[in-house]
């Protein structure tokens, strides 16, 4: 009984830390996005609240919190309330299996715990895919329950887009799974130990041997991930110029904030997955770039730092793409997904499978 109590206490602590970090990052991201895009477009970005506008997220949060909560007449009240909750929960639940740091075990009151992953389950990556696909329901239901044409169209567009690009995400990671021989994110990350070329984007085997690079899968994954998070240039479900705001046109106040949080949490989640699968997760690019020698016991700290660097690189990429590319047309989006991305992902699986058969790792 004591053991169960300790386990629950440890898990709750880990969950609150991860949730806290993720939500703080979301807060910071809303500001970072406006600032980065502002600089890229030769503007200043938010400057009014606090020095250089750094308190802007707090002002935004307060505004959303105190806004009137409107439920449109004719809307389905329960589903209208449920939709943002589904979207946010599905986005946050995926963080449970992300390894943020080295796979080590710590003894807490006689119970072995892994401090840097909330739950090391052996189907980790599939678990994330499953719950991101549940997240689609938040968007579709939000669109339908609002009883508005713009919302419905946004929701339906989102459904079609999510299904199309989810497939590409799923197929792009198969190559990595073949090389790692595991579905657990902890094992996949551990497999990419040591040097930058051991990461799965180049996938040189650790003891030397024939590399089976997954760089094509990496590119497909990143593009599909941008599409799956409904970000520009794939933000058709919420295209302002066509659909007002898409599926959350009728939402206001905290419910709107939930959708907003879910979108940014999803961005962080796919960045974490991309970092863990293709860029070595918490592994440093070279052994001498992490704490070693007399600082060996602090190696976990540099691991977490490297993981954060990779995740922030992807988050910056999201902003960069948004500031650079115009929105696709709907038929272009579908054609790109099914006729360009899908064949590349499928071809990558065939080539990787054959190569992995002849040159086993």
């Amino acid at each position: 009984m004591f053991e169960v109590g300790v386990k629950i206490a440890v898990s709750l602590t880990q969950i609150s830390i991860v949730m806290g970090v993720v939500l703080l990052t979301v807060m910071f991201l809303t500001l970072a996005e406006r600032k980065v895009i502002g600089w890229m477009q030769d503007r200043m970005g938010p400057m009014e609240v606090g020095p250089y506008g750094i308190l802007q997220p707090i002002a935004d949060g307060l505004k959303l919190f105190f806004k009137e909560d409107i439920i449109p007449s004719g809307a389905n009240k329960y589903l209208f309330t449920l939709a943002p909750i589904i979207a946010l929960v599905a986005a946050l639940v995926g963080f449970a299996v992300i390894p943020f740091g080295p796979n080590m075990r710590v003894d807490v009151f006689g119970v072995q715990v892994q401090p840097f992953v909330i739950s090391d389950i052996n189907i980790g990556i599939l678990y994330i895919l499953a719950f991101t696909s549940i997240g689609a329901y938040g968007i579709i239901l939000g669109g339908w329950a609002s009883n508005s044409k713009y919302s419905l169209l946004g929701g339906l567009r989102a459904a079609a887009q999510l299904i199309s690009y989810e497939l590409n995400v799923g197929l792009a990671i198969v190559g990595v799974l073949l090389l790692a021989g595991s579905l657990s994110l902890v094992k996949i990350t551990e497999d990419q130990c040591c040097w930058i070329w051991n990461w799965f984007w180049l996938a040189v085997p650790r003891g030397g041997g024939v590399p089976i690079p997954q760089i094509l899968a990496f590119v497909v994954f990143v593009i599909s991930a941008v599409a799956e998070t409904n970000r520009l240039p794939f933000d058709l479900p919420e295209a302002e110029s066509e659909l007002v705001a898409g599926f959350f046109t009728e939402y206001s106040g905290m419910r709107f904030a939930f959708f907003f949080l879910a979108e940014y949490a999803n961005m962080i989640l796919v960045s974490c997955i991309a970092a863990a699968l293709f860029l070595g997760g918490w592994n440093a690019p070279a052994p001498f770039l992490q704490f070693h020698g007399s600082l060996e016991h602090l190696a976990w700290l540099s691991g977490i730092m490297w993981f954060a660097v990779k995740v922030y690189f992807f988050l910056f990429l999201f902003f960069w793409i948004r500031a650079t590319l115009p929105r696709l047309r709907y038929d272009q989006l579908m054609r790109f997904g099914w006729k360009v991305m899908l064949p590349i992902a499928l071809g990558n699986i065939v080539v990787t499978a054959i190569a992995a058969y002849f040159f086993p790792r």
Partner: protein, 173 residues
């Protein structure tokens, strides 16, 4: 813990199953179906079949029910008039027979039903996904390939049906 979760998952599954056919609004029926599929996935998890759990959610909840809802929302069906088909008695008999057969099988399974080759220890040792992979690609490879060919046929059929017919150019002679 397991009995608590089992009773939750099974009771909600039954309730959602009834609601799937009983609710008046088709979109609500679709959502009840989604609830049913998610809770059946939970039952798989209790059986240590974590791979089936995830595949159930990804395939059924994540793809198929989304498409159902997609169509239902687009059509915006009106179901004010609810009439039974005039030959519903025939269908009722068939449905009762199928349900009875399934119930019989379900009731028999704890006592003398079919047992798999893989003992629980083997599944627990290597994980459900490993066990399923080995079984599918060794014992049931032929069946697996046959299903693949069927699905390919279905895809080709869908493309043929969906393709807009192009006007045939009749050359003036």
């Amino acid at each position: 813990m397991v009995p608590v979760f089992f009773s939750y998952f099974s009771l909600v599954s039954i309730l959602a199953g009834v609601l799937t056919v009983a609710l008046p609004n088709p979109v609500h029926c679709g959502l009840a179906l989604l609830t049913l599929l998610l809770h059946v996935a939970g039952l798989f998890l209790l059986l240590n079949a974590e791979f089936l759990f995830v595949i159930q959610i990804i395939v059924y909840a994540g793809a198929i029910v989304v498409l159902y809802l997609f169509v239902l929302m687009l059509l915006n069906l009106k179901t004010d008039e609810r009439v039974l088909h005039h030959r519903y008695a025939v269908i009722l008999v068939a449905a009762a027979a199928i349900c009875g057969g399934l119930l019989l099988m379900a009731l028999r399974s704890p006592f003398q039903g079919a047992k798999g080759h893989a003992p629980v220890e083997a599944v627990l040792q290597d994980g459900g996904s490993y066990a399923i992979g080995i079984t599918i690609f060794n014992e049931y490879l032929l069946q697996f390939e046959i299903v693949g060919v069927f699905l390919l046929g279905a895809i080709i059929g869908a493309i043929v049906l969906a393709k807009t017919p192009t006007a045939v150019d009749v050359e003036p002679e």
